[in-house]
């Protein structure tokens, strides 16, 4: 399958990665090469095969629904690029 620059632009947008307009053709051609490689999977007969959800058959454990942690505001914010008054600060989200 061949990926065009419009599709590459759309994927970059979905992935929230800015890609300059002049870099899109090269990116599209890399995607095409990788997807071409992946298309081999179409040769496999997967009729009736369950898609794998867990590589080791196990039930996920449940824990008691109790608070086990907390009061870590300073630690949580310690690595933030911009933290103010106990919050993460970001550019304006709502107009």
């Amino acid at each position: 399958m061949s990926i065009d620059t419009d599709t590459a632009r759309k994927v970059a947008k979905l992935a929230r990665i800015r890609v300059q307009e002049d870099a899109l053709p090269a990116l599209a051609s890399e995607f095409s090469a990788i997807l071409g490689f992946i298309e081999q999977l179409n040769e496999v007969d997967v009729e009736g095969v369950e898609p794998m959800t867990s590589v080791t058959p196990q039930r996920l454990k449940r824990r008691d629904d109790v608070v086990t942690d907390g009061d870590q505001q300073a630690a949580v914010l310690a690595n933030a690029p911009d933290a103010r008054e106990g919050f993460f600060a970001v550019p304006k989200v709502v107009e």
């Binding site: 990665i17 800015r18 496999v44 690595n79």
Partner: protein, 492 residues
């Protein structure tokens, strides 16, 4: 002094217990070697103060009942979160990030008395097979045959380089598609990826959560057994961590493999594999036969589809896992222009913070998960994964105890050699290792010989789920028969 760093973990442990050596001496010797080895670019964050403090504490605990790794200096891959110490996963986007917590694996290693010398270079977010995608620059293989600088492999390239160059006694690695076993093979050391769920993933920066497993990279099989023992065990903080008892791996090393059945998969005879690697594989088969194992030809019919399935599943999981790098809670945030909103912040931050390979994989993952393509790519790949796992279940049901294959399709190549190649060419490095991750099995790479140029080559053994003890014993037998003792000549 510097000969101390050449010790294996087991030899150092015995000398420390006897009192012939202190951890402070051993640790200081490693720190000296590390400072003289900047040309290898293996250690990217050195922690000499922490190391000497841990060494002194280990010496104070000295005695017969000291824990299993008491006073043993190790290197830690940059993918592991270490409290108060830079943990960047080889990425610019985590520049300045110092975790407020300690990963389960490093916690367990420290509880076992280990000393941390520093953090080790790696491919960015463990995505790569040559350590060339790192924000720290390339790690370099201590093995050299001409003027070229060679790759130590990847993604655990810094770990492999550091252990092979005797900068530390052992190192942690992680393996999503071959990232412990391929670099181990490229540098003439031992590396084991345990069964999925054996080692807690808590506090390890996630790449592809259904494939990622941590494991040790060491100078021999005994050291791998000792170090793996300390890393394993159930962890309530990782919901996929197995609640199973951990056997005594070192005690399993008898070297007796009489009566074991070793499978040789015909699909691993691939086109374009050098004759030397085919020969190494045949030699390894003969060694196991001589040791009393029964050799059988087996078929793993879906082998060919493992890499394409991997290059759907791993990028899909990565695109989801790496969504957290958004410039809000930790790491890098791009400088914004007037009027930029939150979307511009995300897009600019991720464009600046992620390198090219990571961007490419996140976008491929986004594509295969997007509406209209999810079934055609992602669900199909997960079905093929089921078939790959069934291939292994079938041969194990036929009585096969372990499977012998080459570890890599070539010896270490030159840094920069693959720059102009199609990305798929680089992916082929993992052709023999990636099936093991997809099936969740334990796999170990053992150095088994040198190629014509004098570079190390490794063989891989694949075991039954949860039977690392048996796998390590088979590897131990192979190690003894192969008698690999070559070391890189020091040039750094």
């Amino acid at each position: 002094m510097s000969d101390l760093t050449k010790l294996t973990i087991s030899a150092a442990r015995d000398a420390l217990r006897k009192g012939d050596l202190t951890s402070a001496e051993l640790t200081a010797a490693c720190l000296t070697e590390i400072d003289a080895a900047d040309a290898l670019n293996a250690f990217v964050h050195k922690t000499p103060e922490i190391a000497m403090e841990q060494a002194k504490a280990a010496d104070a605990r000295h005695g017969a009942d000291a824990p299993s790794l008491n006073g043993i200096p190790l290197g830690i891959k940059d993918l592991f979160c270490t409290k108060g110490v830079a943990s960047q996963a080889g990425s610019r986007i985590l520049e300045g990030f110092k975790p407020e917590y300690e990963s389960t694996v490093t916690t367990q290693l420290f509880d076992a008395g280990a000393v941390m010398l520093g953090k080790l270079n790696m491919d960015e977010f463990a995505m790569g097979s040559s350590n060339e995608t790192s924000t720290y620059g390339d790690a370099v293989n201590p093995w050299k045959v001409d003027d070229r600088a060679l790759t130590p492999g990847g993604s655990s390239g810094g770990s492999a380089s550091a252990v092979a160059a005797d900068l530390c006694l052992g190192a942690t690695g992680t393996d999503t598609g071959g990232s412990i076993r391929q670099p181990a093979a490229f540098t003439g050391i031992t590396g084991i990826k345990p069964t999925y769920g054996r080692v807690s993933r808590w506090g390890i920066v996630a790449f592809a959560s259904s494939l990622d497993q941590a494991g040790p990279m060491t100078k021999d099989v005994r050291d791998a057994a000792i170090m793996l023992q300390a890393m394993c065990g159930h962890d309530p903080k990782d919901s996929t961590s197995a609640d199973l008892a951990v056997p005594d791996f070192e005690a399993a090393l008898t070297g007796d493999i009489r009566g074991k059945t070793i499978g040789i998969p015909k699909e691993y005879h691939m086109e374009g594999i050098p004759a030397e690697i085919e020969k190494l594989w045949a030699d390894g088969t003969a060694m196991l036969k001589d040791a009393g194992a029964k050799i059988v030809d087996i078929s793993l019919p879906h082998t060919k589809y493992a890499l394409p399935a991997y290059y759907v599943i791993a990028p899909a999981e990565a695109s989801s896992n790496l969504a957290r790098y958004d410039g809000v809670r930790f790491g890098h945030r791009a400088k914004l222009d007037a009027g930029d909103g939150i979307t511009e912040m995300y897009e600019k931050t991720r464009a600046e913070g992620f390198g090219h390979e990571v961007q490419r994989r996140v976008m491929i993952g986004t594509y295969v998960l997007s509406a209209g393509f999810y079934d055609a790519y992602y669900n199909r790949a997960r079905k093929v994964r089921t078939l790959i796992k069934q291939d292994f279940e079938n041969v194990f049901a036929q009585g096969v105890d372990a499977i012998l294959t080459p570890a890599t399709p070539s010896a270490a190549f030159g840094l920069g050699d693959m720059t102009d190649a199609d990305p798929v060419q680089m992916y082929l490095n993992d052709v023999f290792t990636v099936t093991v991750n997809l099936a969740g099995l334990p796999g170990i790479a053992v150095p088994a010989g040198l190629d014509r140029q004098g570079l190390p080559l490794g063989l891989q053994l694949i075991g039954r789920p949860w039977e690392e003890a048996d796998l390590l014993n088979t590897a131990y037998s192979l190690e003894r028969a192969a008698g690999f003792v070559a070391k890189p000549a020091k040039w750094w």
